[in-house]
């Protein structure tokens, strides 16, 4: 059981800055995120794209922003729990008992949901029969690549994941790479490598094809792919890999008794608390009249929600408003030595 003052759900910029604001007012927090890394949409969707509307930072990338925020919260030694999705919340005696999908448990005074547009899940094939094979011979990510050795693998997708795995697996397996168009979103050098491997007969590239059907009993045996013009090809396949990026789903948050409006959580604008006492929502996931889905709004929301958490974490103490420029206590918390 992890005991702390506040649990933040979501390690995007809003969640990270909220951790800073909690630290400044003397509250401890831990952060859970479904992804395997910190940064949320900034890292998952646009690590290299510049952002131009962070106050006082004329231009920075999603990755730089994330790194700066991590630097900023360093003094507070925030503990991260990555690859974890919060599943269940239960209130007991003014505390929240939280459980993740892997069974990790937390005992906290308040919860801040900074979940963006939900948790990222792999986008799946639209062909219904694919579900049957998921986890046995059809995968959306690779955990153990040794199972593919000397097998026939059909990889779908045109991004870096699809290209990188096609290149790597072509060393030890018989690889088909199937993509819906001639263009690829993956790195130019990988695209060239794929074309070279195809020319050398070390990999079979099928463009303008998409999955049509899949067949097999326990395991996949063959798949059919369909060309834009209608032609159908049958390919023997032992395994299928789909790399179509990630989609965002609210997931378990829907079951927590919160007021949900169009995939967002309704909050008040005084402290960004939801309709449930002790649960706050900030950043893209919250909604209120005039809400702007900007990172800078998430920072503001996080600052107020952090203060809203105080009365739950330290019910017998009074929170005093202080500036970091002049507050000795705040500076001590930041580890500043004069």
């Amino acid at each position: 059981m992890n005991k702390t003052d506040v649990l933040i759900i979501g390690a995007g910029p809003t969640g990270l800055f909220c951790a800073h604001q909690l630290g400044i007012i003397g509250l401890q927090c831990e952060i859970v995120d479904n992804l395997d890394k910190v940064g949320g949409q900034c890292i998952e969707l646009y690590p290299d794209k510049p952002i131009y509307d962070i106050p006082a930072i004329p231009e920075c990338t999603g990755e730089e922003l994330t790194n700066n925020l991590l630097e900023q919260i360093k003094p507070f030694n925030v503990k991260f729990h990555l690859n974890e999705r919060v599943e269940k919340l239960k209130k007991s005696a003014n505390r929240w008992h939280v459980k993740t999908n892997s069974g990790k448990e937390f005992d906290v005074a308040a919860i801040v949901i900074a979940g963006g547009v939900g948790s990222f899940e792999p986008r799946k094939f639209s062909v219904k029969d694919c579900e049957k094979f998921e986890g046995s011979t059809l995968f959306y990510s690779i955990k153990d690549k040794t199972i593919f050795k000397a097998k026939t693998i059909s990889i779908f997708g045109g991004g870096d994941s699809a290209l990188d795995w096609a290149i790597e697996l072509s060393n030890t397996s018989n690889v088909n790479l199937i993509h819906r168009r001639d263009g690829f979103s993956g790195a130019e050098s990988s695209v060239q490598k794929i074309k070279d491997l195809n020319d050398q007969g070390k990999l079979s590239l099928y463009t303008k094809y998409q999955m049509d059907s899949v067949s097999g009993n326990k395991n996949i045996e063959t798949i059919k792919i369909k060309h834009d013009e209608g032609e159908i090809k049958e390919l023997k396949s032992d395994y299928i890999l789909g790399f179509f990026g990630l989609i965002m789903q609210l997931g378990p948050i829907l079951n927590w008794g919160l007021n949900i409006n169009k995939k967002t959580v309704e909050v008040n604008t005084e402290n960004f608390e939801t309709n449930v006492d002790g649960i706050f929502a900030i950043g893209d996931i919250c909604s209120y009249p005039g809400k702007l889905k900007l990172i800078l709004s998430g920072f503001h929301e996080g600052a107020l929600a952090a203060r809203g958490c105080f009365k739950y974490a330290k019910p017998d103490e009074k929170l005093r408003f202080e500036f970091t420029t002049t507050s000795k206590v705040a500076q001590e918390r930041l580890g500043i030595k004069k």
């Binding site: 949409q41 969707l45 646009y46 547009v117 986008r123 639209s126 997708g157 045109g158 991004g159 993509h179 819906r180 168009r181 263009g183 979103s185 998409q210 834009d228 179509f244 990026g245 989609i247 965002m248 789903q249 995939k263 889905k293």
Partner: protein, 106 residues
């Protein structure tokens, strides 16, 4: 102003006057037309405002910017007439545009 027709997957036809300057996505969202999620709010960072454009309109629309086709790779059942509706800005030229909304966005 342009009349935009949204055909939803339940075979309902919604014809709406959409102001110039809004996007086809915003026209749908503001008028509660079901089937367009627009998770990222128009940032071309997801593919949940995916629509199929009627063939006759394909050439009349502004060309796809870099990135739109990449995003469409991630759409649910993309086809050659797929577009992201957040990238289609409404003007008088789009009067009469007809789009079909897919059965789901993800």
């Amino acid at each position: 102003m342009a009349k935009i027709t949204y055909n939803t997957h339940d075979n309902k036809i919604h014809t709406i006057d959409v102001q110039n300057g809004l996007t086809v996505m915003e026209g749908a969202v503001q008028n509660d037309i079901p089937g367009i999620d627009a998770d990222c709010g128009g940032g071309m960072a997801c593919a949940t405002c995916h629509v199929y454009v009627n063939e006759e309109w394909l050439d009349k629309l502004p060309a796809k910017e870099d990135g739109e086709e990449d995003m469409l790779d991630m759409a649910f059942e993309p086809k050659s007439n797929s577009r992201l509706s957040c990238q289609l800005t409404v003007s008088d030229d789009l009067d009469g545009l007809e789009v079909n909304i897919p059965s789901k966005q993800c």
